[in-house]
């Protein structure tokens, strides 16, 4: 632990030896391609498959009417809504699946897809989520009997009345309307699968790009149980995954169609999305319209916050949140500040857009929450003319207040926010920058400094509150140590690039004393790994990592018994140091872990079970609360409004660090995915529901060219309830970076009286805002 061990998995990744879904080729395998709707809302009048079926190699064209015969044309979403697998009569968004072409080669499948002619009757789509709540808005979900509007759910937390009372008596109230734009994870690997149904054994092997293979197995059994596919007959294998970021949690129609076709024809069926299909049809993230308000004294003591959200879910709520939290963990929106009162309410609506939204590198809507609180905190600082760093320091929850009960009911486990911000301010020379800014402003130059001091909430989660489709959100580890003292460990999680094969090995090495290079980590095969809910929401270290510790400790207890037997002393007389037990006061009398494991197979005490294996299912007592203090400096060209991030300092507190190099890599990647929505990414739809940037030529994913030099550092406050004090880090930078950048840009533009800009903030948007308000 605490060592920058090189990643064990990288040898195969950097040599092109990874094994991704598209690398899997099975004998007799068929290929599937999907016909998609050009319209955002239309009736299907006719699907003409004649020409497609004449193309050599095309085996079949599957439509919703075909699936309807098996009652497989609709499926449940993780949020207990329903989603079409293939439509029978209406398409609800542009790029929706309309039919599937099955062929003997990928090329024939693509040619077949081009040859399927679909006649549509276009209808006027609902694109604006506010308009979809109007009384005269057409009702989109006519499939739901008795549905009289486009409203999905209402959710609230805190006391409306108490909050209103504080607001009406406060010296200062600030308010901003914000949109956290619809974006996409755009992982390097798109989604896909190979569904391989064996008619003889009535057995399905499903190779797929999934972050949660066990949950998927259960879902398949629930959806397909009626056609005879029961859970013991289903094996889900998630091989190497080229980036997930939440986008590989949901079940997409393509997976289900591939299973259905393989089931019907008895051959393996491969489906791999192309880049545009991935961007246009797979679950989006964010898309929250937020009204944020903060009440304070005129000196700047925060008294209360209030947030009102309109969530655009597309045509079905296909988010991937724990069941009881339709708005995810948004209620961490009260932030890192100590005040007693807050109220949040949210309404979700249907529109003619792709369904979602997934938690893109974010523990369920935390990104939206952090953006809202960090932006409105800066807004308060601007209003009362106080330095935003000073305002934060004066309002922080102090380190001796932990565990801290937040206004909306969370128990923050640990943190030292003052230390984090001061470390970041020193690293970037905050006072020097402010002095420089004064000089620059005299010369008419635009320079801004932005701060984000965020608290995350990760590691879902304790079983009393957290489940997905009723399955509690524990996670698991199983360790088998072989007679020669080398181990294999399996987990219910699934790495998509996070480096589990290394960090889990390091955790077990620390607890058992077996060198990490001799611990083989395996995940992703439901036939071999213990059941778990998978990897997202920064939950792997808080849950499965903790399970590894607990399983290793069970084995250490067994080793102690064997050592006592071999050394002929009582267990209490033994001392542990990583790798061996020795007799207290007689250190020359000792047994190494390798000797003790060997004895477990060759010379175990009478009455003891042979072997050296342990499994643990870890149900965390609380979530973990990583935090960070990020400061960003931007220079904006005063004529072209080109934005340059000059410096970005990120101080993270993720508790105890297992592998500093992996943490640093995670922070670098996350920060880059943080500048993405802040400055570049947004899925844009026109009034007709056309996606206007459905390719990576137009949807701007930042590259190394756009990435500034990231300066990182740490404050460490171990989680008091996690067995090794770790908190999780994968998502902090994605969550924390956008408001730091937005705050910096707004700070630069504050000379023009600008108090808020919606992300992504582009040179054009700045020019337009200043032009529209007559500033230039």
């Amino acid at each position: 632990m605490g060592h920058s061990m090189k990643r064990k998995e990288d040898a195969r990744f950097i040599q092109g030896k990874g094994n991704y879904v598209d690398d899997i080729k099975l004998p007799g395998m068929l290929y599937m391609d999907i016909v998609r709707s050009p319209y955002a809302y239309a009736k299907i009048k006719k699907i003409n498959t004649e020409a497609a079926l004449k193309i050599p190699g095309v085996v079949a064209v599957v439509t919703g009417r075909d699936l309807e015969q098996y009652n497989l044309h609709w499926m449940p979403t993780l949020m207990s809504d329903t989603q079409m697998v293939l439509p029978t009569d209406t398409v609800m968004y542009q790029a929706q699946e309309v039919a599937a072409v099955i062929a003997t080669s990928r090329y024939a499948a693509r040619d077949g897809k081009e040859a399927v002619i679909v006649e549509y009757e276009p209808m006027k789509p609902l694109i604006d989520p506010y308009k979809s709540l109007n009384d005269d808005a057409p009702i989109l979900r006519l499939d739901k009997p008795g549905k009289t509007d486009n409203h999905i759910w209402h959710w609230q937390a805190g006391s409306r009345e108490e909050t209103e009372a504080v607001f009406s008596n406060a010296d200062v109230v600030v308010k901003e309307q914000m949109h956290i734009p619809r974006i996409h994870v755009a992982s390097i690997e798109t989604c896909g699968c190979v569904a391989d149904y064996d008619k003889v054994d009535n057995h399905l092997t499903m190779y797929m790009t999934t972050q949660a293979p066990h949950a998927i197995r259960t879902v398949i059994a629930l959806v397909a149980g009626h056609v005879g596919l029961t859970e013991e007959k289903i094996r889900v294998i998630s091989p190497d995954i080229g980036g997930g970021f939440g986008g590989k949690v949901p079940v997409y129609p393509g997976y289900v169609i591939a299973i259905a076709v393989s089931f019907l024809v008895g051959k393996p069926v491969k489906w791999i999305e192309d880049r545009s299909e991935n961007l246009q049809a797979d679950s989006f993230a964010r898309d929250y319209h937020i009204t944020a308000e903060m009440a304070a004294t005129k000196e700047g003591k925060i008294l209360a916050t209030r947030f009102k959200i309109l969530a655009d879910h597309g045509y079905t709520d296909a988010a991937a949140n724990p069941s009881k939290f339709p708005i995810g963990m948004f209620s961490v929106c009260t932030g890192s500040y100590d005040y007693p009162t807050s109220f949040v309410e949210a309404d979700a609506v249907y529109t003619n857009k792709p369904p979602g939204g997934v938690a893109y590198r974010c523990s369920f809507r935390v990104t939206e929450a952090v953006h809202a609180i960090e932006r409105i905190t800066d807004r308060l600082a601007f209003e009362i003319g106080k330095d935003p760093a000073k305002l934060r320091i004066e309002n922080f929850i102090q380190k001796d207040q932990f565990p801290y009960k937040s206004p909306l009911g969370w128990e923050y486990d640990s943190g030292d926010y003052v230390a984090g911000l001061e470390k970041a301010m020193n690293a970037i020379d905050y006072d020097g920058l402010r002095a420089e800014q004064v000089e620059k402003r005299k010369k008419g130059e635009l320079m801004g400094i932005g701060i984000s001091t965020f608290t995350e909430i990760v590691g879902a989660g304790p079983s009393k509150d957290f489940d997905i489709l009723g399955i509690k959100m524990f996670d698991s580890a199983e360790i088998r140590v072989h007679p020669t003292g080398k181990a294999i460990a399996r987990f219910g999680t699934k790495s998509q690039g996070q480096g589990h094969e290394t960090t889990y090995a390091q955790i077990i090495a620390e607890e058992l004393g077996i060198p990490a290079e001799h611990i083989q980590v395996e995940e992703g095969d439901t036939d071999t790994a213990p059941y778990g809910l998978g990897t997202y929401a920064s939950r792997s270290t808080p849950t499965a990592g903790a399970a590894a510790v607990m399983a290793a400790r069970k084995l250490r207890d067994k080793a102690r018994k064997i050592a006592a037997y071999l050394l002929e002393v009582s267990e209490e007389d033994l001392e542990w140091e990583p790798g061996k037990f020795s007799v207290k006061g007689a250190p020359e009398k000792s047994k190494t872990i390798q000797e003790l494991v060997f004895a477990a197979y060759t010379n175990h005490p009478q009455g003891m079970e042979a072997g050296f294996e342990a499994t643990h299912y870890y149900d965390p007592p609380n979530l973990t609360f990583p935090s960070g203090a990020y400061i960003c400096v931007v220079d904006i060209d005063s004529e072209t409004f080109e934005i340059k991030v000059r410096r970005f300092v990120a101080i993270d507190d993720c508790g105890h660090i297992i592998n500093p190099m992996i943490v640093q890599g995670q922070v670098h990647g996350g920060l880059t995915q943080g500048i993405a929505p802040a400055m570049y990414e947004e899925l844009i739809y026109d009034e007709a529901g056309n996606i206007l940037n459905g390719t990576l030529m137009d949807y701007l994913v930042p590259t190394a060219v756009e990435s500034p030099k990231w300066e990182t550092g740490h404050v460490i406050t171990p989680s008091p309830h996690h067995p090794i004090g770790a908190k999780g880090v994968g998502e902090s930078p994605t969550v924390g970076a956008p408001p730091a950048i937005a705050n910096a840009i707004v700070d630069a533009l504050s000379v023009y009286g600008v108090t808020h800009m919606d992300i992504p903030i582009t040179p054009y948007k700045i020019w337009k805002k200043l032009k529209d308000t007559g500033k230039i």
Binding site: P38, Y120, S276, N690, G694
Partner: protein
């Protein structure tokens, strides 16, 4: 997505001659690059096809053209075109109106065109659509002028030339 074009240009022909062409569906459609009339439904309704190429993206539309107004007294006309992609990849709607003004023997033509494109062309062509529409329109004006002057009309639309002239336009 919607794109709008409004142009005023002058043709060195008398207004009645220009009006005869502008109000005649066969004459006007033959000047639109990539367009052809296939059937006359009645006096105001015609069936036709339009093929457009936007770089690598090609779309063919089957459509119905309807004259909404043909007023010889005021020299104003308007027509509506509704098209769907022949392969079910989207659609395009167009509203076009034209007014002629006598300019001492020659004729000033003012034409407004609103095109709304749905589907694949809107997705892939959103950045090109304004430029390409302008190119198409310029070619239409050339064709219309040439036709009235009794010269040959180039009615084909070439992807290469479109994209090529756009790229050249970038370096003007």
């Amino acid at each position: 997505m919607t794109t709008s074009i409004n142009r005023t240009f002058e043709i060195n022909e008398p207004i009645e001659k220009v009006w005869d062409s502008l109000s005649n569906p066969h004459e006007i459609v033959s000047c639109v690059p990539g367009a052809a009339l296939t059937e006359q439904v009645d006096a105001d309704n015609y069936k036709g096809t339009v093929t457009l190429k936007f770089g690598p993206v090609k779309a063919s539309y089957d459509g119905l053209v309807t004259f909404l107004e043909r007023n010889a007294a005021t020299k104003t006309m308007s027509l509506k075109g509704v098209g769907t992609d022949t392969k079910g990849k989207g659609g395009a709607d167009m509203l076009m109106s034209g007014v002629l003004t006598d300019k001492a023997g020659s004729t000033e033509v003012n034409v407004t065109m609103n095109v709304e494109v749905t589907g694949m062309l809107a997705q892939f062509g959103s950045r090109l659509i304004n430029d390409v529409s302008n190119q198409v329109f310029d070619q239409f004006i050339d064709n219309f002028s040439n036709k009235l002057a009794g010269k040959d009309v180039n009615n084909t639309m070439s992807a290469g030339s479109m994209v090529g002239s756009m790229v050249k336009g970038l370096f003007k």
